[in-house]
Symmetry: C2
Subunit: 355 residues, 2 copies
């Protein structure tokens, strides 16, 4: 599979980490740290070591898994661990895990001693097609997502299908939502291909195409001044629903499940406020609702959801701005939408989703 | 006084903040925050407001003064305050204070929502000639200085002699050490001029020259891969002495006082390990010791000081690397020095300093 060149670094596909072995062999790093969570230390670290010929010349930094641990307290712990290891500026951090690990590991690395090198080895579908591409690092503050972070690029990204074998089904489905999004915002043909695919058996070719789409967008607009915002399709409402679900539901939605909901709502907004046709809207709704489990957005949560959207960091000057589809495969951004439309789009989701 | 162009931003001198008034008038920022400590809120904020025609369209974020508060807990507090104000990515942070405020405010701004704009208005001599130039932001972790930070440039820097009027004498002397350093590493003529000057009555012309020197160095090597290290002259031993004094002395050394000590030690190392002549060494010692109060580096602290130098973030692969003078006005970097020489240089300081 072709390597993708991103800004100043490469994204490798199914190389069995061969280029990483070369980097390590060069020996220019004073120390190598592998950052993982308990699950990836168990499921992925053995594979990692095997790919690198039983490499053991690293120290493991392990954290508890889950979004609730993507916080500043864990960062402080990691900074102090690096200090305890007397890690200098020439050390390397390898982030081995899902988006929580690559986001938080990237943030810690980009700020420790004002920046050390790091490499991302994303091990979930979501992190392979999304989190590990584009240079965004971040952590949550007071449960508000990614409130603190940097734009910092890794030295390399390694995408290995091998790691996906142990990813739970629900996590696969979560990452698959971002792939659907990539199709919807940038490539109708790819979207149609995904419809024919099975999310439990994703090919590296499909991942490659998703990474390609995301990479093109972020390379054109690294600091999210404009076009990069199309990647937020489904995320304005989706994020709010996700936060709400996290704080209220016994079994909260995954990110992808929330984004699936957000994409249906925002497809409705695209029809109402942009040029997405009624047929395309119906087709998006039908497909997404055939893949993702049903969910009810409680009417009494609408106010809280609006407040959450208000405080979303993508806003400017207090306006809630949406990225909307002009058609399947084409997306525009910075669209203002009436508050009543936002509510209606959620009602639409609730009405039409229940099969 | 001429404006200095730095990477992508300007450093203004004695403009009475006129360009800032223009930036504010443009009104492109959604919110303006002024970040200050208790002392600068009292001594500098009235001057700031007066210069801006009684401007009041900002929210004040105030912290406790002092290096001990340049820590992650205060950063978390500021991030949360920004969240409470619903600050979006288009807000502006104005850091009004000494190096603690510009360092910590810069770090908070460079990471809040992955980076908002900030402007530095340094109000101590040290921060005018040093901390506010070069894009280093940072905070301390476990009392280890600047262990976490970023390289991020402000939108502008405003240097106003007016603010220095309320700076305590000892703080003026502290900043003056960095000016001496600039002369020693880059400009013999400037060094001679400083010798004729009075640190309590620093001219903007002298500050301008210091900023010019620092700016040239950091523009050439923004990420401190090489030449920028000459700015560390006096700082390897100086930082260790400063940390030690902070933890042990009843009335700890200021940064500049510690750097003055460090410069005498490292001038000795420059004579021993580089080409600084015996006459130049004697002249540096004589001048610095005529300006700075005497101090004794306790023999029993040498081991601890070595350990502190070891853990200094400027090291690579466990070697303590020094920036050494080749002559007055010329500096080289990445010099390895025997541990015994480091000790001897401190003995030299102790022996010769006491008048
Ligand atoms: N930086 C970006 O541009 C960006 C983009 C999208 C998402 N994100 C972030 O990514 C995070 C979500 O990523 P995620 O879904 O990968 O979450 P995650 O890292 O929490 O991984 C999900 C779960 O799967 C486990 N896991 C990971 N790899 C595994 C494997 N190979 N086998 C078995 N279990 C494995 C993890 O331990 C975790 O329990 C969020 O914090 C989100 O903000 C960032
Ligand atoms: N980023 C860099 O490149 C860089 C370079 C050098 C130093 N620094 C950092 O700068 C810090 C030291 O800077 P500093 O010496 O300015 O310390 P500081 O900010 O603590 O200021 C010293 C004292 O003077 C007070 N003060 C500030 N301005 C005043 C004024 N105009 N009138 C009256 N009182 C005033 C402050 O409240 C404080 O009590 C350190 O943390 C150091 O690490 C950073
Ligand atoms: Zn997403
Ligand atoms: Zn200094």
């Amino acid at each position: 599979m072709n390597t993708i060149e991103s800004s100043g670094h490469n994204i490798y596909f199914d190389t069995k980490l061969a280029p990483l072995a070369e980097i390590i062999e060069k020996g220019t790093y004073s120390n190598i740290f592998v950052f993982a969570d308990r699950n990836t230390a168990e499921a992925c670290l053995p594979v990692f070591r095997e790919m690198l010929d039983d490499f053991s010349g690293f120290d493991l930094i392990e954290t508890d898994p889950g979004e609730e641990n993507k916080n500043i307290d864990f960062c402080i712990g990691i900074w102090k661990t690096l200090l305890d290891f007397e890690a200098d500026r020439k050390c390397l951090m390898i982030n081995l895990g899902g988006g929580v690990i690559t986001d938080m590991g990237g943030f810690v690395a980009s700020t420790y001693k004002r920046g050390i090198d790091f490499i991302n080895i994303p091990t979930t579908l979501l992190s392979q097609v999304d989190a590990s591409v584009g240079g965004k690092t971040g952590i949550d503050i007071d449960n508000v997502k990614n409130m603190v972070g940097t734009f910092t690029l890794p030295q390399a990204v390694f995408i290995e299908a091998e790691f996906l074998k142990t990813v739970p089904k629900r996590e696969m489905l979560s990452g698959f939502a971002e792939m659907i999004k990539h199709g919807l915002i940038a490539d109708e043909k790819y979207y149609q291909e995904l419809k024919a695919a099975n999310y439990q058996n994703i090919t590296t070719a499909a991942i490659h195409r998703s990474v390609e789409i995301k990479n093109e967008v972020v390379t054109e607009d690294p600091l999210e001044k404009g076009k990069r915002k199309i990647l937020n399709f489904g995320h304005t409402i989706g994020h709010a629903v996700e936060s709400y679900s996290l704080s209220k539901d016994k079994k909260p939605l995954t990110h992808g499940e929330a984004i699936a909901i957000g994409m249906i709502c925002e497809a409705w907004l695209s029809h109402k406020n942009s040029t997405l046709s009624a047929e395309e809207l119906a087709e998006i709704r039908a497909y997404i609702s055939s893949v993702y489990p049903a969910y009810k957005i409680k009417e009494k949560s609408f106010d809280k959801l609006s407040a959450l959207m208000q405080s979303d960091k993508k806003n400017e000057h207090g306006n809630i701005l949406f990225s909307l589809l002009e058609s399947i495969g084409k997306c525009t951004w910075n669209c203002r939408v009436a508050e009543s439309d936002i509510r209606e789009s959620m009602e639409y989701y609730n009405l039409t989703y229940v099969k």
